[in-house]
Symmetry: C2
Subunit: 209 residues, 2 copies
């Protein structure tokens, strides 16, 4: 995949977006978000597909890839550009078989052992999670921290995005660890101005490349 | 599809099976269950796939089709024979596109309006739900009752299985309404002898055909 797309990766959370998800995503994409992951944990399949279709339509004119969390069937149904797979999701080999060689597959890694396992998989990127403690996800593993992130990036054969507690104040340090980009949720969705938030984050992630 | 496979349709519930799902399914299949639906609402995708693979391996020697509830990706991943789709699941047209023409697609119908909508879909059977009030599912619509079931069967262009509160005492009446078969959960999984339970149910559904 084009690793530039990993630079500023927005992961959705409908609750944090306060019911204005599509509006906020649009602003964020105009502000420079390079890839979007639709993450839904508590909706029906029909709703997931419906949101995915709407998001795909919204992102296509900007050339911004849409990644679906976990659900390979939803990704196929909405014509998404790929899936993001956690450690308890569909095994990567099966996802690759179902999606074909051209779709993007991202893998969450929560430990150095996960990084090494991911090295054996046909994935396009890894999501190193969490770098810092985060309020968005409560079921996460121990944070990598900056030193752990640097080691994980070093060890990985795949380009890496960092996720978890990333914001304007620490995005520069993350990029300095060798990450291909940052994945954020609240830094954009909780901002009163998602366009400006994305724009400032892009400046930092861009400058450090 | 071969509508004989609809005659005695076991829908799984891991909680009701008391952690002995595979053992109970095996006994029930030996007793005459003609189709099995793996229904999982609270497990991870990885667990769903793992259970599906195990169940597929178990059922194949008996020629008993495996149907996956809702998840088209899990069905594809485990090589299942089809999916069962509820009113809030993947739209039928998309599921058919992803699964191809040969897989079985079943649709839940919860009202006469659903029956008429299902008539327009490329489905293999409908599941009329619930016929009676049932303790297995708490989020169900108003029961059809026997008269409603007969009307729904009459109206449907697809073969129909009835589900919800069906057991030895009422299976005969269900078949007399014109259903192609019965779908059961607790009548088999909560029985101390799933083999015998399946066998007795089969006698009734067989005799009434």
């Amino acid at each position: 995949m084009n690793t530039d797309k990993l630079r500023l990766y927005l992961v959705t959370d409908d609750t944090l977006a306060g019911g204005r998800l599509f509006e906020k995503v649009t602003a964020a994409v105009k502000g420079g978000v390079s890839m979007v992951q639709l993450r839904e944990k508590n909706c029906t399949t029909a709703e997931f597909v419906s949101k995915g279709l709407r998001l795909k339509e919204l992102l296509t004119p900007y050339g911004v890839p849409l990644i679906i969390n976990d659900r390979v069937d939803v990704a196929l149904a909405v014509g998404a550009d790929g899936v993001h797979i956690g450690q308890s999701d569909m095994p990567c080999k099966i996802a690759r078989k179902l999606l074909g060689p051209d779709k993007i597959i991202g893998l969450s890694v929560e430990s150095m052992e996960d990084v090494r396992s991911a090295n054996l998989e046909d994935a396009d990127y890894i999501g190193i999670s969490p770098v810092f403690a985060t309020p968005t996800k409560t079921d996460t593993a121990a944070p990598f921290g900056l030193a752990g992130l640097a080691r994980a990036v070093e060890e990985s054969v795949h380009p890496a995005v960092a996720i978890g507690g990333i914001n304007l104040s620490n995005a520069g340090e993350i990029m300095a660890c060798g990450a291909a980009g940052i994945a954020v949720v609240s830094a954009i969705l909780c901002s009163p101005d998602p366009f400006a938030a994305a724009n400032k984050l892009l400046e930092i992630t861009g400058n450090d490349k």
